[in-house]
């Protein structure tokens, strides 16, 4: 079944219960490690992470970081902050900051408890000190998926977000789930850009597991050669993933590169699984997707030197 231009090249619904690797029912994650503060983005992130943990029947672990950069700031002689609620400037003191951070940790813990009770999952909560990114990576172990809000941490708003996230992903022992503003966790398909490379193939089971857990369709955006040899790709993906997805599998053949990027950055429902090391990406394209995408993203990157 060939197709030209944008549009689905064909769909295949679930026809059996046995997955390609016979792993149906097995969790692809051992634990969901969610990094928290008390922001709205963190709340949205926590909700998504809890749902993911429930769907995978795994533990939810919360991590609150008393960020070192903030403490350093409070020790500077001129340190002041502008409070959003009152638009006034006040001196920032270490003791006051620590008090605020602990209060924030308490709020985060309560939110965590609420979500865990709602989803009936095992949970734990930890407070760490250090630089946010380092503390998160330190707390993560093999089999974990790290969940964090976009622009998480005191310096999360700084420029170079995409690059920073990629660096974290490269150092993380497992995939990274990014969510929160401006994305929303609305139900929708699992979107997977796929070029047939090893990194893309590694992400396929994760995408299938998420589609199953979220009872969603798996939509694969074909990149590179996969689009050119559509019948083979279709057969291969159908065999590997089609029967596993409860709402079926859809292959998307973009007209061109720009169309593929638009599809990935403009979709506003569902969840994207992004193999950052796939060779099909041009330089900087992954960072653009990370910056602009409106969906939660499951990102995996192994960085230079990893097997390709």
């Amino acid at each position: 079944m060939a197709a030209s231009g944008d549009g689905p090249s064909g769909t295949q619904g679930p026809s059996g219960t046995q997955g390609p690797s016979g792993t149906q029912g097995e969790s692809v994650f051992r634990r969901v490690l969610v990094a928290l503060d008390s922001s709205a983005a963190s709340d949205a992130m926590l909700e998504l992470a809890a749902a993911l943990a429930a769907a995978n029947a795994c533990e939810l672990r919360g991590l609150y970081v008393e960020d070192q950069d903030l403490l350093h700031l409070a020790e500077l002689p001129f340190a002041r902050e502008v409070q959003i609620s009152q638009a006034i400037s006040r001196t920032l003191k270490r003791e006051q900051l620590l008090q605020d951070l602990r209060a924030q940790a308490g709020v985060a813990r309560a939110a965590m408890m609420h979500q865990a009770a709602r989803h009936r999952i095992a949970w734990s909560f930890q407070v760490a000190q250090g630089r946010t990114n380092e503390a998160v990576l330190l707390a993560a172990a093999a089999g974990d998926i790290i969940a964090m809000a976009r622009r998480f941490g005191p310096l999360g708003q700084a420029s170079g977000f995409g690059r920073r996230v990629r660096l974290i992903a490269e150092r993380a022992p497992g995939p990274l789930l990014l969510a929160g503003e401006p994305t929303a966790g609305l139900p929708g398909p699992i979107l997977l850009p796929y070029d047939g490379s090893l990194p893309a193939q590694r992400m396929l089971p994760i995408a299938v597991a998420l589609a199953r857990a979220r009872n969603a369709m798996l939509e694969i955006v074909l990149l590179g050669e996969t689009a050119e040899r559509l019948p083979e790709t279709q057969a291969e993906l159908g065999a590997r993933a089609g029967r596993e997805c409860p709402r079926g599998l859809r292959l998307w053949v973009p007209r061109n590169r720009g169309a593929a990027l638009r599809r990935l950055t403009e979709a506003d429902r569902g969840l994207m699984v992004l193999p950052a090391d796939a060779p099909a990406w041009a330089a900087g394209e992954v960072e653009v997707i990370l910056e602009r995408a409106r969906l939660p993203i499951v990102l995996q990157a192994q960085g230079p030197g990893a097997d390709a």
Binding site: Q68, L73, R80, V82, A87, R118, E181
Partner: protein, 818 residues
């Protein structure tokens, strides 16, 4: 002067079955009306028809006369030709939710409107979320949110970039933003900062100060941006909501908008939806996913969710024919005027207009309400609420707590509903008289009294009518037909119930019960009709079920624990008769009455009264017989008698004057020192002239003495003295009648004390001769002589007193002057 005992025919007035032209009641037509209640029926028709205020009815009559049944039937007949009243609904008041509004609707439209509004809300529940899920809405909302975010982001981004150009970072703190110098992508450590040259540190501090000023300016703008964003979003929501709801609301308006009040209500509902639809949906979603939810701020203090658009149908006449006739058997305050219920939500009691429940007055509005007066009066505040509703012509729903101002919880004050109902109270006559006397509002609110009689005369035509009444009752209660012997026996029992051989009781409930029980025995016999034998069996069984205490009482007499002689004679001692009423069963019981006399100051002591065991009527009887003595004997001398009278072995109260003749006989016997026959028992009251007067319970009294005598063996001399006027009341048991017929027992009708004392003593009473004295050997001669002796003796003692300083007190006892 001899008294002729009554013949057996005078003791029981049979119902002549030969007068009946039917064999069984199957041949008789039903009666449309109850018999003997013409006066009451006329009053009911009048009261139900007159249209002015205050013409409510009080139906009074003894219990069991069929008042309620008759009233309900008459009212139903009348109501069936009257128009069905309008429906009444309660709607949410969007302005003041604690004051729900009441609206009348054309008959049957209430349910239709309720269904239409439910359908409308269901439609909106799905259509509005669908509209908000639409691509168009999402795009427009996204654009608004993107715009708002971008505006904020742009402002911060500009600031951030300006700062980053100078190696300064904008940092998010737990409560706001701050600036800090950056080194290697991290906040510069204080040590490193302090190690910077002085000028560099000053430069950084200066830059940061400037940036903070700018940041403050940006942050000050945020609330305004947020307000603008909210307004834009609200406007968008209103626009989308309006597109969705206009059409469904217009449909309802087209159908019901001509009804006064509905058009304006729908307009208010539209406005409310436009303002609150988001909060409503949010509330519903939260409630569906996580149980009862805390309402959003916009809805606090208001009716939650889409429930606020429901229609609370209080009364609907749809499907009814005619005006309502409502009976409320449990007329509590809420059952009468309605109530506002509460439900528990998150530990608090809450309410809204959908929890307003109608009372009997709502259901009867436009028709008739039948209530039991006693029950209304016994329920706290119900009587007051009923009177207020009738007086004001409005139904106001208030709880007992509110009426007494005891509870001040948040509740509702539903709008009053105009009341146009005729209230019919049924009750005992005593209640009517008490209310008329003690409640000044009662006569103005219940101006029509329908007085039910409890008996009718017993002629041939009445017996035939009575037979038809029994036939009707038997058919309505699905009993076997009654043959004419059965009817005759029931009629005879009706006379016994009335306590009058010339009357029939209209205590229909008791008669109906008798028919049911007779039908049971007929069924046991395998009979197809109820015959006299079955009626008798039912009567006997009923007595048997109830007469344990009678048996014990008679046993005590037979075993001589209670002393009653039925043979021989004794001075100052007579057998009196009383009636014991225990539940629905009455029986007669003989009691020994004794009198003792001695010289005194003319006082007859009623021992029962002295110890508070005698009632006022009994005392009155004793005083009358004292007066009889004083006025008939030794009238030219002071009555120098001290006498005491007592009901021997009576440990309960005694009331009534039916034993006064017996007491007088005992007193005369004691004075004359002539013995009284103990094989006779006496009943009857006496007046000052010595006439024996009618008493109640004559049948039971005769049967009581008869039973005792029969158990001991009838001698042929035994009998009962009854007032002659009581002859017409005699409906005695068959065994008594048979004993009389066989000459083994007698009933003597007594006109005067003279007749009675002669019969009891076997001596003439005596009539004053021209010289003013009684004949030698007469009872009265002996009595007078004794009284003269007492008077003389008293005079003698009076002389002694003047000599010896002694004085006699009123009771004849002596005391020494100090």
């Amino acid at each position: 002067m001899s008294v002729t005992p009554l013949s057996p025919e005078q003791l029981y007035t049979r119902c002549d079955v030969t007068r009946f032209t039917f064999e069984t009641t199957e041949e008789l037509r039903d009666l449309d009306q109850v018999i003997g209640q013409e006066r009451a029926l006329e009053a009911i028709h009048f009261g139900a028809s007159i249209g002015h205020d205050g013409y409510n009815l009080f139906v009074l009559g003894p219990s069991g006369t069929g008042k309620r049944t008759v009233v309900k039937r008459l009212l139903r007949e009348k109501a069936s030709g009257e128009p069905v009243p309008p429906d009444w609904i309660y709607l949410n008041n969007f302005e003041t939710p604690h004051q729900p509004r009441a609206l009348p609707l054309p008959t049957g439209q209430g349910r239709a409107l309720q269904a239409a509004m439910r359908h409308l809300v269901d439609e909106l529940r799905t259509a509005i979320p669908a509209a908000f899920e639409s691509e168009d809405y999402r795009n427009r909302r996204q654009a608004l949110e993107d715009g708002a975010r971008e505006r904020q982001e742009t402002a911060f981004q500009a600031l951030r970039e300006k700062a980053e150009a100078q190696d300064i970072a904008l940092i998010r703190t737990p409560t706001g933003f701050a600036f800090a110098p950056i080194a290697d992508g991290a906040v510069m450590e204080p040590k490193a900062f302090n190690a910077l040259p002085q000028e560099e540190r000053q430069r950084i501090e200066g830059e940061i100060e400037k940036l903070q000023g700018e940041l403050q300016d940006v942050v000050k703008l945020i609330p305004g941006w947020a307000t603008e964003h909210r307004d834009a979003l609200r406007e968008l929501n209103r626009e989308i909501t309006a597109q969705t709801l206009d059409q469904p609301i217009d449909r309802v308006n087209a159908r019901f908008g001509t009804i006064p009040g509905i058009g304006s209500y729908l307009e208010e509902m539209r406005e409310d939806l436009l303002d609150n639809v988001h909060a409503l949906l949010q509330f519903e979603t939260a409630g569906n996913t996580a149980g009862p939810a805390e309402p959003p701020a916009a809805l606090r203090g208001r009716v939650n969710g889409f429930k606020r658009y429901e229609v609370n149908l209080m009364v609907s006449g749809g499907g009814e024919a005619g005006a309502p006739v409502v009976t409320e058997d449990n007329p509590t305050l809420p059952n009468l005027i309605g109530l506002v219920e509460h439900s528990a939500e998150m530990g608090a009691l809450v309410t809204d207009f959908t929890l307003i429940k109608p009372g009997a007055l709502h259901r009867a509005n436009g028709g008739y309400l039948v209530l039991d007066a006693q029950k209304v009066l016994m329920q706290p505040l119900a009587w007051e609420a009923l009177k207020r509703a009738l007086k004001t012509g409005r139904i106001r729903i208030e709880s007992a707590g509110q009426m007494l101002s005891m509870i001040s919880t948040v509740s509702l004050a539903p709008a009053d509903i105009p009341l146009q109902a005729k209230v019919v109270l049924c009750g005992e006559p005593m209640l009517y008289y008490l209310l008329s006397t003690h409640d000044p509002e009662f006569p103005t609110l219940f101006k029509v009294a329908a007085d039910f009689d409890d008996e009718i005369g017993r002629g041939a035509d009445k017996e035939m009518l009575f037979a038809r009444q029994l036939a009707t009752m038997a058919r309505r209660t699905k009993l076997r037909p009654i043959d004419r012997s059965g009817i005759a026996r029931v009629i005879e029992h009706g006379a016994r119930l009335a306590g009058d051989a010339e009357k029939l009781s209209l205590h229909l409930r008791a008669l109906c019960d008798l028919l049911r029980e007779a039908d049971f025995f007929a069924g046991q016999d395998g009979a197809e009709v109820i015959a006299a034998s079955h009626v008798q069996q039912a009567l006997d069984a009923k007595v048997r079920r109830a007469d344990r205490l009678r048996e014990r009482s008679y046993e005590a007499i037979q075993r001589e624990f209670v002393l009653v002689d039925t043979d021989g004679a004794a001075v100052g001692q007579v057998n009196g008769l009383s009636v014991m009423q225990l539940g629905g069963f009455a029986f007669g019981r003989p009691s020994r009455i004794t009198a003792r006399v001695r010289m005194g100051a003319g006082k007859v002591i009623d021992i029962e009264r002295e110890v508070d065991l005698g009632g006022p009527l009994h005392s009155k009887g004793v005083l009358i017989l004292s007066a009889y003595l004083a006025s008939n004997f030794a009238i030219d001398r002071p009555l120098s008698l001290a006498a005491s009278l007592v009901f021997e072995q009576s440990y309960g109260g005694v009331d009534g004057d039916s034993a006064s003749s017996a007491e007088l006989y005992a007193l005369l016997s004691a004075l004359a020192e002539v013995p009284i026959r103990q094989d006779l028992a006496v009943t009857g009251s006496v007046n000052q002239n010595g006439h024996v007067q009618v008493i109640g319970g004559v049948n039971e009294k005769i049967e009581g003495f008869f039973d005792i005598c029969r158990q001991r063996g009838l001698t042929g001399r035994q009998g009962v003295l009854i007032p002659a006027a009581n002859r017409k009341h005699l409906m005695l048991r068959h065994d008594v009648v048979e004993a009389v017929a066989e000459g083994r027992f007698q009933i003597y009708p007594i006109e005067t004390i003279d007749e009675g004392i002669a019969l009891l003593t076997g001596r003439p009473a005596g009539t004053r001769e021209p010289d003013g004295s009684f004949p030698e050997g007469s009872i009265y001669r002996l009595v007078e002589e004794r009284l003269v002796t007492f008077a003389e003796a008293r005079r003698h003692f009076g002389d002694q007193r003047s000599d010896g300083g002694r004085k006699e007190d009123g009771n004849g006892s002596l005391w020494r002057r100090p």
